[in-house]
């Protein structure tokens, strides 16, 4: 029995020692450093930063190492750290137009100002295992264009110029903060986007996929995906102007969706939006599809599919919450199970008695607790 005996504390200590041993693995191999993880497993680091809502590659790498590569565990560790940090203020909205672009593709235009930039993508690689990667082969320097790319107009701006796509109005209101305020349905779109941005990549991917297969179809086109470095600016009240405090790598996806028109509004494309820390195209695209699906009520669309259901999607997209509650089932439940055991035994006794005594007898005969 792992409970009901003294010594739980020693057992836990020993379990953690064994965990540390397994984490280190074979001592004859060199230990990996956080810097190596941050440099060579950077997409894992990006995912941890995105779903932990904390931009710090070094700490994310430490979390991945500490979690033995278990991504959700690493996300959890980093979030638990994040929650202890004070919130100094709210940054100005990131200006993705001014991003220093590393990748930028549009599926809606063959060519556009600034061109299509493939960047460091897996697309068009042939997924053949590459044995030449083993060891530490020489890797040639990439070719770079001079000066970098910035200030590229977004596809949504191009469509905006013709009023072909709905406008996003800045209401100037302070956005909600799902990490500081109780969540109450229905959420504002800002809160919904925050939830999606830290939502589980796999869950959002599956939901997004379901919309493509007819469960809440949104007729999407990738207006644009851009990956690059965006400057974070914060207003300093004492100074009266904003100050750049650093850059973050983000992936932005603007999905252009089916048009709507009414007596009041001319036909226009609608949008779904995705913005994720780091390089994570899959997540940003899934997020933008989910965002659009969740706006069904806004457009008077019939809500029939899981991806359109705000309470369903938002309540279940957080993998730290989900893993905690699913895995809590391994905690002892023997008190409740005992209660169920007693009940089932009693119900069975009543059922048997009914069968033996007579068909006419009602099931309400006073029968003692089966656990007696």
């Amino acid at each position: 029995m792992y409970v009901a005996v003294k010594g739980g504390e020693a057992a836990i200590d020993n379990a953690h020692r064994l965990l540390a041993d397994r984490r280190r693995g074979d001592r004859s191999l060199p230990a990996i450093s956080e810097a190596q993880i941050a440099e060579q497993l950077s997409l894992a680091v990006d995912r941890v930063m995105a779903e932990a809502s904390l931009y710090d590659p070094g700490l994310a790498a430490l979390a991945i190492r500490q979690a033995r590569g278990d991504m959700i565990e690493a996300i959890f560790i980093l979030r638990a750290y994040r929650t202890t940090l004070p919130r100094f203020g709210i940054s100005r909205p990131l200006d993705s137009r001014a991003m220093r672009i590393e990748r930028r593709v549009s599926a809606t235009y063959k060519d556009l100002p600034g061109g299509q930039l493939l960047g460091p993508t897996f697309d068009y690689t042939h997924r053949l295992l590459d044995p030449t990667l083993s060891g530490d082969p020489e890797v040639p320097e990439p070719s770079r264009r001079d000066g970098g790319v910035g200030g590229l107009a977004r596809v949504s701006d191009i469509l905006d110029g013709e009023s072909l796509i709905e406008m996003e109005a800045d209401e100037g209101a302070e956005p909600g903060d799902i990490t500081r305020m109780p969540q109450e349905f229905p959420l504002s779109r800002a809160e919904r986007l925050q939830s999606l941005a830290r939502g589980d990549e796999g869950f959002l991917l599956a939901l997004a996929y379901s919309t493509q297969r007819g469960y809440g179809r949104t007729h999407p086109f990738v207006g644009e995906i851009r990956i690059g470095l965006a400057t974070v600016e914060i207003d300093i009240p004492e100074l009266g102007f904003s100050v750049a405090i650093g850059e973050v790598r983000v992936t932005e996806c603007q999905m252009v969706n089916q048009f709507k028109g009414s007596a009041e509004r001319p036909p226009q494309f609608t949008r779904g939006y995705g913005l994720v820390f780091g390089q994570s195209e899959r997540k940003a695209m899934a997020m933008s599809l989910c965002d659009r699906a969740l706006r069904a009520a806004e457009y008077g669309e019939e809500i029939t599919a899981p991806a359109q259901d705000e309470e369903f999607v938002i309540s279940h997209c957080d993998n730290v919450e989900a893993t905690g509650f699913v895995e809590h089932l391994k905690l002892p439940h023997y008190v409740d199970f005992q209660a169920e055991l007693g009940l089932v035994r009693r119900l069975r006794a009543a059922w048997q008695e009914r069968g033996v005594v007579s068909e006419a007898e009602e099931g309400d005969a006073p029968i003692g607790e089966a656990a007696q």
Binding site: A4, V5, E9, R82, T84, M181, G324, D336, A371, Q372
Partner: protein
């Protein structure tokens, strides 16, 4: 990072204030689920993060903490939570119910009667008693607002129609101060009668679901039932095989694979105290 860099009881004072406000509101409206901005805790959701946050918000340096899970002080998660507070708050801990000022619990109420000044903090997985009848939060909040509990009574009635009795053995719904239907957390219904008119303060924390609710001292807590099917608790024929206690909740311990079993106290501290004669235990 080491523990010294954390605030007393882990949470920063702003967060504690936010939680205390939620607790005060919960006390003002007994049984009502107050939304609060639950924080990520360094332990998993579903493992007592709500209870831990409530405890962290109410505990002071002079408090004595007891933590139980399934009635026992030595279950692994109880050990872990107790160690957490020893580390981040440096408070004294105890296994004796009578000595504790704050008791955090999962799934049980101690057998030894609670007294004034004690706080019982329940860990709650699903705070909404109507959740399995209506999955939508927007709907259940309206139902509570309108005191529309017909669905719950229909469910209990259907139990009686199908099984001859109410087939809920734990997390048995209660009505608090004649108004709100409340989930008492997954305690066996055996413990429900201990909640009513208790001199202790009862606080409920659900971290993942971000809700806090409360039962102030000396408040009526009534288990839902029907006139012709009154609420009844589990009874055990045998006494505890170790201490001989009757009228306590027992765990069934399987001794072998040939049907051998014995029944022992779920409240391990109460059982031990009775056997060693220490402490005035029931």
């Amino acid at each position: 990072m080491n523990a010294a860099t954390y605030n007393f009881a882990y949470l920063d004072e702003q967060t504690k204030r936010m939680i205390r406000r939620a607790i005060l509101k919960a006390l003002a409206i007994p049984g009502y689920q107050v939304p609060f901005a639950a924080r990520e805790m360094p332990m998993p959701y579903g493992w007592g993060t709500g209870g831990v946050q409530v405890t962290a918000a109410v505990i002071g340096p002079g408090d004595v903490l007891k933590v139980i899970d399934q009635g026992a002080d030595d279950t692994t998660n109880a050990v872990s939570i107790r160690a957490f507070f020893r580390k981040v708050a440096g408070v004294a801990t105890t296994t004796h119910t009578a000595e504790a000022t704050v008791i955090q619990t999962r799934h049980r109420i101690p057998e030894y009667p609670l007294k004034e000044g004690q706080i019982l903090v329940y860990q709650v997985p699903i705070p909404e008693p109507l959740r399995f009848l209506e999955p939508r939060e927007t709907e259940t909040r309206v139902m509570h607002g309108l005191e529309d509990y017909g669905l719950m009574h229909v469910k209990l009635y259907e139990d009686i129609a199908h099984h001859g009795r109410i087939a809920t053995a734990y997390a048995y719904p209660v009505k608090v101060a004649g108004r709100y239907v409340m989930d008492p957390s997954p305690i066996p219904k055996f413990d429900n009668p201990k909640m009513t008119m208790s001199p202790a303060l009862q606080l409920f924390g659900a971290g993942r679901e971000k809700r806090i609710y409360a039962v102030p001292p000396y408040t009526e807590v009534k288990s839902l039932d029907f006139e012709d099917h009154p609420f009844e608790v589990q009874t055990f024929n045998e006494p505890c095989a170790l201490c001989g206690a009757r009228n306590v909740y027992l765990d069934e311990v399987v001794l072998d694979d040939r049907g051998g079993r014995m029944f022992v106290c779920s409240d391990t501290d109460n059982c031990e105290s009775r056997r060693t004669g220490t402490g005035a235990q029931s």
